[in-house]
Symmetry: C2
Subunit: 433 residues, 2 copies
């Protein structure tokens, strides 16, 4: 039996009761013969409370001090978890990010891991201890200052440690049962996915699925660390995210080369209502115009998502360019473009934040014709109008009205046979997408 890294989020360790429940689960893994390293987030609302306190003493808290402050949160939860494990008769030691060898760059509040030197963790587990590591934090390589990894940082800590310790698996414990074929709050018939490839998971994560962040999946893919996302509240198996399906999975049994119909065509439907759409109307359709627009946006350090340009109307020689980006960056985008208007020479700007993005993700669509048509038919039958379309090798995304998002996601989920009761085979005809 090898080494397992387990990560528990803030909702799993929200109070003393939760910490004791987590301790039991950790001890179970140890009893099963694993070496166990646990990565833990701050308890429940601790981080928010600390942020509020910072707001009370300073209008613009410095990054370095904010990191010093916030890292107190994991220090509390990790020490309590170590105590709770010891109370169950097992040896445990807690370590800060710095003690665990999580070396980062110096960008406070959103540092990136540049190396992991887990010598103390290795010694601790080799001595028979369960090692508890503070998630979300590290120490900067040059200044030896405390840093935090930003959003999703604890998941990334867990995967990075798993890679550095050559772990069998990185288990991410959360408050849901795994990754679903759609958001269960929207689609009551959404099904838990047993296995999903890194690639499909990356597309889901960037299309609005919130269970795992893109950054953590990308890290796992690079070092080929299998992730098992599961609930800390139930004993159920969750979702495996890895390069190959596990031994017991149908996709594996049915042969490596072929892909099973049911599993591989479509992994799931994701949606995202956090973006806004900007349309630049009446752009001269000649070389260099689009470049000017996106240079202006890049200089303003804006993160664009979808970018769509249609063919121009021959009669006018003008075209429209649309893109989406996070709503809270909308104003900056408009300002940046208006400033360069004389140079770019467009007719008008249209801004719309009442939109939703709906994405269908699955490596299987590469080799299955008709997926796109089937997707659009499903939306049409539900009376949903499509405003933008953008595709990748394994994803189709459309922009619709925000009000249409729930019926649209349900319709697509049903149409692709993803509903949990449905066992029907889905056959696609037509000319491919």
């Amino acid at each position: 039996m090898g080494l397992v890294v387990q990560k528990y989020g803030g909702s799993s360790v929200a109070d003393a009761q939760g910490i004791k429940r987590v301790a039991k689960r950790v001890v179970e893994a140890k009893k099963n013969g694993h070496q166990v390293v646990v990565v833990v987030s701050a308890m429940g609302d601790t981080t928010d409370e600390l942020i509020d306190l910072a707001g009370e003493v300073s209008p613009v808290p410095s990054g370095r001090e904010m990191d010093m402050l916030l890292t107190a949160g994991e220090r509390i939860s990790m020490a309590l978890l170590a105590m709770a494990i010891k109370a169950l008769g097992h040896e445990a030691q807690s370590f800060t990010g710095s003690q665990a060898g999580v070396i980062t760059d110096s960008v406070h509040n959103k540092a990136r891991i540049i190396d992991v030197t887990p010598g103390r963790i290795r010694s601790s587990v080799d001595d028979g201890n369960i090692a508890i590591v503070a998630g979300f934090q590290g120490v900067s390589q040059d200044k030896k200052d405390i840093t935090t990894l930003g959003r999703g940082g604890s998941d990334t800590t867990a995967v990075a440690l798993a890679a550095a310790l050559d772990a069998e698996v990185c288990e991410i414990y959360t408050d849901v049962d795994g990754v679903f074929t759609a958001d269960p709050r929207v689609v009551s018939k959404a099904r838990k996915i047993e296995w999903i490839s890194f690639e499909d998971m990356l597309e889901l994560a960037s299309s609005g699925s919130k269970v795992l962040l893109h950054r953590c999946v990308e890290y796992a893919r690079r070092y080929n660390i299998p992730i098992h996302v599961r609930s800390s509240f139930s004993g159920l198996k969750g979702t495996w995210v890895s390069s190959e399906p596990p031994q017991e999975h149908p996709a594996h049994r049915e042969g490596q080369g072929e892909q099973s119909m049911e599993q591989a065509i479509i992994s799931g439907v994701a949606h995202d209502t956090s973006e806004a759409k900007v349309t630049v109307v009446g752009v001269p359709d000649k070389p260099g115009e689009a470049a000017k627009i996106f240079r202006a946006l890049a200089d303003a350090e804006l993160n664009l998502d979808m970018v769509v340009q249609n063919v121009s109307a021959a009669s006018t020689g003008l075209t429209d360019i649309s893109f989406t980006l996070p709503k809270d960056e909308g104003r900056s985008a408009i300002t940046a473009l208006e400033k360069r208007r004389p140079d770019i020479g467009f007719d008008a700007l249209r801004y719309d934040d009442q939109i939703a993005k709906i994405s269908l993700v699955g490596a299987g669509m590469k080799t299955n014709p008709g997926v796109t048509a089937h997707f659009f038919e499903a939306l049409s039958n539900a009376g949903v109008n499509i405003e933008l379309i953008s595709t990748s090798e394994i994803r189709i995304s459309v922009v619709t009205r925000e009000d249409d998002v729930n019926p649209a996601v349900r319709a697509v989920h049903t149409a692709f046979g993803l509903d949990s009761e449905s066992d029907e085979a889905v056959v696609y005809g037509g000319t491919g997408r």
Copy 2:
């Protein structure tokens, strides 16, 4: 202008308002041209809350993990203080005990400082920053584990840093105006002491005065670091604790060799109701008997305070030995002695926890005859009976009934001219003590 170390306790930084008030005071010192290092405790009740949490997850939390947990408290207050200072337009950086170079032994929960290597603090202040350091914590020399210094630890951190940085003064900010000639809650006419020697302060601290702990004063005396105890809520000067009176002090003006009457005879009256008295009755008055008693108590790791033996009654060849110790160690003392009773051979044990200890402290009493007599007369006039007497070079302590403590302290305070309105000179007659 040199470097100043300021220490603020938990009550001074209990909330955002308190932190901002402290920030202003720190900035003032910086504006006056000092290099400033600030040692800060955890906010208000944080430590107690964390201890409660630990109790919820483990009946006997491990020392290592308890230290990891508790040190989160200072991490929060120090980061917030650094932010608040920066919000006032001054540069500040916070440092953990480990980052500040506070090296300790490995005794968790009550580690002792064995070295201070403040390289990062020195660089930080030399770069123009105000350095904020977490009190109460350090890192163990051998295992590099986080440790805490136990009771009064933050004061000790401040004095140790002041010594290592060769500071001009260590300012201890607290919620009282300084060290008083008696506890102001008991003696309304108690007077703030302007200056007190290390020796007298040590005696007061071990006699029940709670403003400064013995350990911190001892450290300051060893490295000759002047301490200025003062209130963080007022702008008043507090009490200087140092080897020599400051330049502006009357004791200084009146000549180094001589001691001023008013100041030096008596520093103050301390009282302590936290102890119990044990009397071993009918001990054979022959060599080795007392040794057996105190060996038994030492083996039980009990901390005795006063120890008194009177001459034996010639007729019986038996004597009585009394000692005092903290009330919560009383049961252990009785058990330890009962176990060795056959060997020691005493008649009976008497236990009494309704006692008070009243101590008169002052280096002046060494050269002033009649202090003891005057002390006992004051008690007698107040109708207070004396049960035990013990003296050192600069202290007289008596044990009385606990009910008598307040009138006794007031009577002594008045008798030695310590009352604030009184300017009368006190003359002692008699044969000296």
